[in-house]
Amino acid sequence: MNRHGWNAKRIALAALALWLLTSVYIVPADQQAVETRFGRVVSPRVPPGIHLSMPWPIDRVHKLKVQQLQRLAVGGEISDGVLGRTEPLRAQFLTGDQNIIFLRAVVQYSVGVPAEYLFQSQDVAAVVGAAVESEMAHHIAQRSVDAVLTTEKAAIQEEVRAAAQKVLNDQRVGVLLASVNIEAAAPPPEAADAFRDVAGARADSARIVSEAQGYANDVIPKARGEAERLLEEARAYKLRKINEAYGDAARFLQVAAEYERAAQVNGRRLYVETMEQILPKIKKLLVDRNGNLDLTIVRK
């Protein structure tokens, strides 16, 4: 009896110790915890480390991986819409200029406020998805199809993220949206070729503009070279003219000085020399003042 009682005491003590051990808990480095007492939140944000609480079942500890990003797709698979497979409407959005486009976005979110994340909504992913989807529809309905497909994709992503975050904050979902990323956006297959042609036209336009620029880049430097050539030629001409004039003038003055010494003789000599040069080339008729004109040479 005594021995039996001692054993029972030991078992009871061991059980008590085990029970008390449930009041010690460890929060790993990448997690945070929420401590509740009879369901009521007493510590909304317990940092990583070793902690004490009241033993089970008074206190419960809910641990959360707060830094882990969770992914959620919004819209549908583009190929579903293209191939007319399951739920083509999922991916379909209406733009501000009443064009239909297919779009798929991926949301990444993490836990922002652990207590809200745990206790405020039944299905956090559904709430996040609905908020992002409605903001996406709203913002795409305010943009032209070109803006959505090309230039303003980044702006839309950020606007949707910010707006959806505000909605989720108001609903106290306790979620932090890291990013909303439009992974794919495409026109409907019925108009895809026309969209491609616009891209082609844009390329054509860029090509002929760059060709024209090539022409300009060719013509203008050539013209500058040509201008430089004209100027150099003119400078050469000027120099030549002046040098020639100097030379001619110097020669003339020297010859003139010689000529002056015996003007009569030199004049005659020059005349005769010139005639010697000219007369061999030309046809000549000699006419004596007293004789008749002999025209036989002319006839021949």
């Binding site: 379909q92 501000g96 239909i100 405020q120 989807e133 002929i208 013209a223 002046i242 046809k283 000549k284």
Partner: protein, 297 residues
């Protein structure tokens, strides 16, 4: 019965009775729940505060999930004020606010969603009927107007749902806007026409820009060349003027000799093998030929 025989078990029995009583009277309320305390089926009061609470052991506690839920009504077609059809997919974020009213009127979530569907549907129909398509779908949007429409719809839905069913509606939002299936072919045709117009415009604009660049280049070339011509002629003129000055300066020293020289020079150019000269034997040159020594002037 010999009560004395069981006397030593009395304390244990009393302890067990107390534990059972406590078990029946104390109840925890979690953050995710509301508790409705009922007495023989009759709702008494609601516990909204989480934690440990007490009731009489003969009363019972009913738990309600107070968390936010998302309800997605089926997409429906609505008519805007300017008689355009829109297929709208909405969602409702709601939670139980007043369990007593909730349990008295609807009872469970499925029934609640049916009621919400009716409220939201008529609310959306009224709201869209009062707005043009442009206020929802437009490249120059009146964002505040669309937001106000949804806020008003949420507020109205919330008022009705809370008063009637004890439901709080946090948000009614439009998840998707679409055109009805039968309109789509014409939309695609319009999209194609629009794209073709834009493609033509791109090409024409490229052409325009290219022509402008070419014309500008040609103009610049003319400008450069003509400016160079102007400058070159000026330089040549300077050369000509300078050489003329030099010549006249030199020739002015001896005009008679210049006249002789220049005249003789020009003869060389004037006369060639096509020229026939009729020479008088009296000429300076031929006098000697004709008369010998006597011809020497």
């Amino acid at each position: 019965m010999d009560w004395q025989r069981y006397r030593r078990h009395y304390p244990a029995a009393a302890a067990a009775a107390i534990v059972i009583l406590l078990w029946l009277s104390l109840f925890p309320v979690r953050e995710t729940e509301f508790v409705l305390v009922t007495q023989f089926g009759r709702p008494l009061y609601t516990v909204t505060e989480a934690g440990l609470h007490a009731k009489w052991f003969f009363q019972s506690a009913t738990y309600f999930d107070r968390r936010l839920r998302i309800y997605n009504p089926r997409p429906s077609e609505f008519l805007t004020r300017d008689k355009k059809n829109l297929v709208i997919e909405s969602y409702v974020a709601w939670r139980i606010q007043d369990p007593k009213r909730f349990v008295e009127t609807v009872g469970d979530a499925v029934a609640a969603e049916m009621r919400l569907h009716d409220i939201v549907w008529s609310g959306l129909a009224a709201a869209l009927g009062a707005h043009e398509l442009e206020s929802l779908v437009s490249v120059q949007p009146d964002a505040a107007r669309a937001q106000r429409m949804l806020d008003d719809l949420t507020a109205a839905t919330d008022r009705t749902a809370l008063a009637s069913y004890g439901i709080h509606v946090a948000d009614v939002r439009i998840k998707r806007l679409n055109l009805p299936e039968q309109n789509k072919q014409s939309v695609y045709a319009r999209m194609r026409a629009e794209r073709e117009r834009i493609a033509r415009q791109y090409r024409a604009e490229g052409e325009e820009q290219a022509l402008r660049i070419r014309a500008e280049a040609d103009r610049q070339r003319e400008e450069i060349l003509s400016a160079a011509y102007k400058e070159a002629e000026k330089i040549k003129g300077e050369g000509d003027a300078e050489s003329t000055r030099l010549y006249s300066q030199a020739y002015a020293r001896n005009p008679r000799f210049y006249k002789l020289l220049r005249t003789l020079e020009s003869y060389k150019k004037i006369f060639d093998d096509k020229t026939t000269a009729i020479l008088s034997s009296d000429s300076e040159l031929l006098k000697i030929l004709m008369r010998g020594e006597a011809g020497v002037p």
